[in-house]
């Protein structure tokens, strides 16, 4: 039998389950492994001493109350960790818009506004609209039944493997000034289930001093199962600011993402019922309501919410499919979103809108 590995020896130091069987028998009769075992256990002991700290004494009851209080005072879901006052305000405004947009797309998805999108439309929204939607978690429970596994990689092949073999889109030519430093990313397919709860919804409306709109029959306990991804992406730009703290990152110059179109299934209630119920929630503006109702069949349209004060949007044609272009030609920030052959594509960055459209049209 070959000698025991350092990992096996290390485990034998302090895992009672590892001190039996063939490995233990080998150690018993092998002076070389015994010598190595001594080294490994001495190291383990000295590191344990180095890491020793006085135990933290906790008051579980009081801590639980603090957590519950905090939770109730927070509108769940919307968080902008990337927003910091010190960074460039214009670019950040755009990134915030995109981030908020992505969250609202999720919120709409959980609300069951679309099932399998085949085209995209932009919807102007106000910040108040977005905040109202972020509170959807007050109307039920959201749980991952299959958690997304995100992986940042240095090779396209690894990213593709992380996304179950989904091939990466290739940018034909980068615009001038965009760094060729690229990070790849892959996300496995993820499945989330949202379960509506009449009690949560009523409690939440009451907390705001509002009355809950009448619930459609069957809404309580209705579930929506959302499947997102797999997805792959490329991020161009040197993200780590040289010589700065690790939590201070540069904004990427260009991001290209390809994702399987999200799909959603519902139980107990129809799409239209869900749409109407969500639109009737307190706090959603008449403008948003009108915009969504004007879109038409929600089961085939991916809504791209555009905060009206941050960006402008135009309908464009990308590789023969309808798409939405966001931003302008100042180079501060622009993006394109389109759906083709069951995949959603996004090209976004601190580039000109025309450049984003060119990249999108030449993406392979």
């Amino acid at each position: 039998m070959a000698h025991l590995t350092e990992g096996t020896l290390r485990r034998m130091v302090d895992d009672p389950d590892a001190r039996s069987g063939a490995d233990a028998a080998h150690l018993e009769g092998c002076p070389e492994c015994q010598a190595q075992f001594k080294v490994v256990s001495a190291d383990a002991r000295s590191i344990a001493t180095l890491l020793a700290v006085p135990e933290a004494r906790v008051d579980v009851g009081r801590s639980f109350e603090r957590v519950m209080q905090h939770r109730k005072s927070q509108p769940a879901l919307v968080r902008f960790p990337i927003l910091r006052p010190s960074a460039r305000p214009l670019t950040l405004a755009f990134v915030a818009a995109i981030a908020a947009g992505a969250l609202v797309v999720m919120a709409f998805t959980f609300a069951g506004l679309f099932f399998k999108p085949t085209t995209v439309k932009a919807v102007p929204v106000t910040v108040a609209d977005m905040q109202a939607l972020s509170e959807l978690s007050n109307y039920g429970t959201l749980a991952w039944t299959k958690e997304p596994q995100l992986q940042a990689t240095t090779s396209a092949a690894d990213a593709s493997a992380a996304a179950g073999g989904l091939s990466l889109p290739t940018v034909a030519k980068l615009p001038d000034g965009v760094s060729t430093t690229v990070t790849y990313g892959g996300m496995s397919e993820a499945v989330a289930t949202f379960t509506f709860s009449a009690d949560k919804a009523a409690a939440s409306a009451a907390a705001q001093g509002k009355t809950l709109p009448k619930m459609p029959t069957g809404m309580d306990g209705a579930t929506l199962t959302l499947t997102v991804g797999p997805a792959v992406g490329e991020v161009y730009g040197n993200l780590q600011k040289p010589g700065s703290a690790t939590n201070d990152i540069n904004l990427p110059q260009l991001i290209v993402v390809k994702s399987a179109s999200p799909t959603a299934k519902s139980t107990q209630v129809s799409v239209t019922d869900l749409e109407n119920f969500i639109l009737a929630q307190p706090g959603i503006s008449a403008e948003l309501k009108a915009a969504i109702q004007a879109i038409g069949d929600p089961s085939t349209t991916l809504l791209i919410p555009v905060p009206i004060q941050y960006a402008t949007s135009t309908q464009v044609t990308i590789q023969g499919s309808d798409g939405v272009a966001l931003g302008d030609n100042t180079g501060v920030g622009a993006g394109v979103v389109w759906v083709k052959d069951g995949y959603v594509y996004v090209v976004v960055g601190s580039i000109k809108r025309d450049d984003a459209v060119t990249i999108a049209n030449n993406l392979k």
Partner: protein, 177 residues
């Protein structure tokens, strides 16, 4: 049971499940963060943030709940450790705290200095081995560490061994500088 009562029961059981999870895991989650940060107050801050994040997106009855919490505690506290702002704040706070202590201030200073030094070294390790080390040192079993990191139980020994060697190297390097 009528429909209304059943609804109440479901909502109640959600909250109850979260409370049960909190009661079972809070001290362990704090323990992991404290092992990384060597600061019980800050460790509690991290632990509470971790539970708030968990509760926002996950069901408390999910099977993966403890593993998720352990991993999040290790990563969140390691991230804090790496933040430059924290280090500066810590140094000021520590100096003040040590100044107030009556018992052998010189010895206290040395202990705090060592701990800070080890934490800085820990912050320089790769995330996975560092997390394995913090979890195991705070008392999680090999099986629990394996689950939290999504690796086979056989790999935990290798991760620990690698982390211990790397930490020793980092500590020595920091001292000789």
């Amino acid at each position: 049971m009528n429909l209304g009562a059943r609804r109440m029961a479901t909502a109640k059981s959600d909250e109850e499940a979260f409370e049960a999870l909190f009661t079972a895991e809070y001290a362990r989650v704090v323990g992991i963060a404290n092992r990384v940060l060597a600061d019980p107050h800050e460790a509690e801050d991290v632990a509470q943030d971790v539970f708030i994040d968990f509760h926002r997106l996950h069901s408390a009855s999910a099977q993966y709940a403890p593993a998720w919490l352990h991993r999040a505690a290790a990563h969140a506290s390691l991230n804090r450790l790496r933040g430059a702002r924290r280090r500066q704040k810590r140094e000021v706070a520590q100096a003040m705290e040590e100044g107030e202590r009556a018992v052998d201030p010189q010895k206290q200073l040395e202990v705090s200095e060592d701990r800070r030094h080890v934490r800085q070294a820990l912050g320089r390790l790769a995330p996975k081995p560092a997390a394995a080390l913090a979890m195991r040192a705070s008392g999680l079993s090999y099986a629990e560490v394996a689950q939290a990191l999504g690796v086979g139980i056989g790999q935990v020994g290798t991760l620990l061994r690698r982390a211990e060697a790397a930490l020793r190297k980092e500590v020595t390097r920091g001292t000789s500088n």
